[in-house]
């Protein structure tokens, strides 16, 4: 192991030094300096690629979109591209040092600009980045709404390799990973619970989102901590030019966004709020008990940006969201996230800049029971304090280096029970868990030759389990073999993981390229759940003496081709992924008690492999894509199915999505999506028996059956209403499950209603023909 580590370090260092040689060689020639910024609307584009055709050069822009290149005098074609962004071609005459800014316009919330035909999501063929997709809110606009919302988490489920966790759910499974293995970042801060209301809504208010980038593999080294994917969600920056208000009114939710300059062109703010009112319908009931039921969620996003001179930029952002459910006054349940962050971007020099982010994130969960006899409150929480430092260094015009560190202090409060007055309950405080997660990383995107681009990175993570509590060792049968108390602040154990990241791209010609990558990820915060829907009872556990870091290794290869003058694009990727230290519950596990949770767990391994295909039409009045995934996902856990490989719940052999949108005329645009997938692997009974005077079911092996296959058509239409200089508005219609397919949400076995001597199988279907309408405005 150590020698392998050493070899990797040596490889890494030698690649770096190679780059320096390259950089020095580039100097000393008679050239002019061209520099500037690549932007999209108000925000900078990170790591855009600038291809200078005649010079056969690729230049990368840094995190602030800054680039710099030295060229001999002459006329050049600049092709500027970024993952999922509009590609721009520009002819540039170089005869002196000059500043050239490029703008890849992409404003989703600007209702004045619904010009779908110009949206061209070009993939940078030359960039070694693979397994990444970027969706802007504008692309999402061309997908039918679900529950009247343009939800980013739903939209990405239409991409290959990303599977929905269930009907209407916001949870996702990426390349065989489980729902907790996605690093969901809201402006660089992790979000632990990205779901509202059983997962039917995500925590991301579409009006406050700018875009989302999904990494299924080849995660850049600055990201880490989850096995399967990174969802990098950028929130919108307020308009620094003029004050605007925009909003939307839908059947179940409404939202309002205010934004504008604080000081014109220098600073801006944005505040956006959203609330659902399912319970407003309940309030209409004259029955005093029913109208006391509560069911809603809200969220608020805020952001302020300050440009301080040419070299400094400060951003403050915050998020607060909560779900509240209640049964009359007897029972209440609420959960939510709170996030606050401050980010400072600083330009040290034309070649070096940095981004520093300090953040706080919390996810908490409260249960209240007031029966009159018992008044109990159960509280649990997860809190992170984090500091992230990223440096971007343009080592040469052929080499962009990123390096930095991050540190997160986790506090997990698994459960506190308090009560008031007369009660059956004793106060309980499960031991809080503390841990410190540190990471150091460095990476380089290097143009090795005209055709070959290499991205390599290394991430070293150290996860320290900290004391302040009892730590158990548990034997394979779940019995405690030792329990040791550690003082607060003591290091119980530190897990070190070295995560290499390597990616290559080779340009076959101007239209096509081949790519390959290898990535390792380690995960130290684990969520365990015994339900298929996203529930507040899902539990986050940090690594401990028994719970080891999950580790994944993924190899992927891909072929990318642009067709018919970039009107079409074809991507084919294939991957093989292994996962270690996967966690599952024992049968009959009791999971509320956190002090001995480790006695209730089983550990094993996983593997996933597949082929993904994405074919896009990007030009014309009709645009859209076809995505297809062929895959296999398995787990192997001692104690489940005799320790043999078995299908994971999310193992879906085929998955197909067809998405299309058509610009009918200036007012109307139509869109549709159709999805099909093989049913989830599931456990059905293989017998029944009589006990306690009732019928119970007998189960053999886990996940040997399949749910029926799932398919659904959604239709949507956008109507642009009156459009004046100061006011514009739009109506969006959609129909979810347009042909009313009865997809199975659950399959239950029970006594037949009309003949108790028989057992019947009952399929529960959610949402057939679910129409929605929403009205959006902006002034």
């Amino acid at each position: 192991m150590t020698s392998n580590l050493l070899r990797l370090v040596v490889l890494f260092v030698s690649l770096f030094s190679l780059n320096f040689l390259n950089a020095t060689n580039a100097l000393g020639q008679q050239t002019f300096k061209i520099s500037g910024q690549v932007k999209s609307g108000e925000s900078q584009i990170e790591a855009a690629t600038i291809n200078i055709v005649e010079a056969k050069r690729n230049v990368m822009a840094d995190s602030l979109g800054n680039y710099e290149v030295e060229l001999k005098a002459g006329s050049y074609t600049f092709v500027i591209s970024a993952v999922g962004m509009t590609t721009l071609r520009k002819t540039v005459k170089v005869s002196r040092n000059q500043i050239l800014n490029f703008s890849l316009e992409d404003s989703a919330n600007n209702l004045d600009e619904i010009v779908i035909s110009t949206a061209r999501d070009d993939r940078s063929l030359a960039s070694p980045q693979m397994g990444a997709e970027r969706l802007s809110m504008k692309t999402i606009k061309n997908i039918p709404l679900i529950f009247g919302e343009r939800d980013v988490m739903k939209a990405i489920q239409l991409l290959p390799g990303i599977k929905s966790a269930g009907e209407g759910g916001a949870g996702i499974y990426v390349r065989g990973g489980s729902a907790d293995q996605n690093l969901i970042l809201m402006d660089d801060v992790p979000v632990y619970n990205a779901a509202h209301l059983l997962g039917f809504f995500s925590t991301f208010n579409p009006d406050a989102v700018d875009d989302i980038t999904v990494y299924k593999t080849g995660m850049p080294a600055q990201f880490g901590g989850r096995l399967s994917s990174v969802l990098d969600i950028k929130m919108r920056q307020g308009d620094a030019e003029k004050f605007t208000a925009s909003g939307g009114i839908g059947l179940i939710s409404s939202k309002l966004t205010l934004e504008g300059p604080i000081k014109k062109e220098k600073s801006s703010f944005l505040i956006s709020g959203r609330r659902t009112y399912v319970d407003a319908l309940l309030k209409l009931s004259p029955d005093s008990t029913i109208n006391q039921n509560i069911m809603y969620f809200y969220d608020v996003n805020g952001r302020a940006d300050f440009q301080l001179g040419d070299n400094n930029k400060l951003t403050f952002s915050g998020y607060l969201g909560s779900d509240k459910l209640g049964l009359a006054k007897t029972f209440g349940l609420s959960w939510g996230n709170g996030i606050a962050s401050a980010q400072w971007k600083h330009i040290f020099s034309e070649k070096l800049n940095s981004t520093t982010t300090a953040s706080y994130t919390s996810y908490q969960n409260k249960i209240e029971i007031n029966t009159g006899i018992d008044n109990v409150r159960i509280f649990s929480q997860l809190k992170d304090w984090a500091l992230k430092q990223n440096f971007f260094w343009q080592a040469s015009d052929k080499n962009l280096v990123k390096f930095g560190f991050n540190a997160i202090y986790h506090t997990v409060t698994p459960g506190e029970i308090t009560s008031e007055g007369v009660t059956s309950y004793n106060p309980v405080n499960y031991q809080e868990r503390f841990s410190l997660e540190n990471a150091l990383f460095a990476s380089s995107d290097w143009q090795a030759s005209e055709k070959l681009n290499i991205g390599f990175g290394l991430r070293l993570t150290g996860f320290s389990v900290l004391g302040g509590g009892d730590f158990l060792t548990v034997d394979p049968d779940g019995n405690v073999t030792n329990s040791t108390y550690y003082q607060k602040g003591d290091v119980v154990k530190t897990y070190l993981n070295l995560e290499p990241r390597l990616s290559l791209s080779y340009l076959l010609n101007q239209q096509s390229s081949l790519k390959a990558s290898y990535v390792r990820n380690a995960q130290n915060m684990h969520m365990i759940s015994n339900s298929t829907s996203s529930r507040p009872s899902d539990k986050w556990l940090p690594s401990s003496l028994m719970v080891k870091p999950e580790v994944s290794d993924q190899f992927a290869v891909g072929y990318y081709r642009n067709l018919f003058d970039n009107a079409f694009e074809l991507n084919v990727e294939s991957y093989y992924k292994t996962m270690d230290n996967q966690i599952d519950y024992r049968d009959g596990a009791e999971t509320f008690n956190s002090d001995n949770i480790e006695t209730q767990l089983l550990y094993g391994i996983g593997r996933a492999y597949g082929l993904e295909l994405l074919f896009k039409k990007k030009k014309g009045n009709f645009t859209g894509w076809l995505s297809y995934t062929l895959s296999k996902t398995e787990r192997k856990i001692d104690g489940i199915n005799g320790g043999n490989w078995y299908n994971a719940r999310q193992d879906r052999t085929h998955e197909l999505a067809l998405v299309g949108s058509y610009q009918l005329n200036e007012k109307w645009s139509l869109n549709a999506s159709w999805i099909y997938y093989t049913g989830d692997a599931i456990t059905f009974p293989t017998g029944k028996y009589n006990l306690d005077g009732q019928v119970f079911f007998y189960y053999s092996d886990r996940n040997t059956y399949r749910m029926p296959s799932y398919h659904r058509l959604d239709l949507g239409a956008n109507l642009q209403l009156k459009k004046r200089k100061t006011f514009s508005s739009e109506l969006s219609f959609s129909l979810y499950n347009a042909y009313g397919r009865k997809n199975a949400y659950m399959i239950n076995f029970r006594e037949a209603e009309n003949d108790p001597s028989k057992t019947e199988v009952v399929r529960t279907t959610l949402f057939q023909f679910l129409p929605s309408i929403s009205y959006n405005f902006k002034f």
Binding site: T423, G588, E590, Y689, V762
Partner: protein, 268 residues
Amino acid sequence: MNNFKYIFFLFTIVISLSSCEEVIELNLDTSAEKYVIEATLTDHANGARVLISKTKSYNSSNDFAGVTGAVIEIEDQLGTVTRLTESSKKGVYLHSTLKGTPTQTYKLKVTVAGQTFTSTCIMPAVVPLEDVYPYELKLFDGPRLFTHVKYMDPIGVKNFYRFIEYKNDVYTKSIMASNDEFTDGKTVNQTIFPYEFTEESKLKKGDKVKLEFLTIAESVYKYWFSVDNGAQGGGDSAAPANPVSNIKGGAIGYFSAHTLQSKEYTVQ
């Protein structure tokens, strides 16, 4: 923790708001037959009772034939072995005088068709049942009467309970088991939840309710807990599984040596 049942009800309601149900046909394999053993011993005479049957395919009828010809022995901790006798009802084995003593250990041995199944269970101490009474709670579908059970949990020891409710002499089939993890040493007023939240399951004026209060062993609690969390036909549990049995030898079911008290009331 039984209060988590509230969460379950809540999600059931959310789902039922927009769902529809339909009976479908499935073609499933049937696993090899397994013996099902339900064995109880109480601190009262006539409390020793063992039922033996077999599993069958899920789409066959719900009449389960008892298994005859089994040899069933219960051994106390002094080594005295008592053999149960087969009653006139197929697969039911009884003893009219055998009763257990709290805190003593009992062993069960079942021999049937050449197979042997064994189990050991300690009969817990008696915890006095103080009261059984109706109490109204307001939940989603309006006010509803629930049977409540009042008892004082002994401090400093682990206790496990099971509650069996009969409405007008009919078992309501609601599986209620609890432990004292959060209630050690407290006076507990346990709510008895119905099997289903239907209009029919509401307690009405004149209903005669009988509640049996059992102190059970930890292994038996584990059995009922796991029944409640997966063996009842699916739902959206990620992986339904068979309950954790305290019988060795590969049979389904449990052996429970428990104490039993009961109280009745009539809804006014």
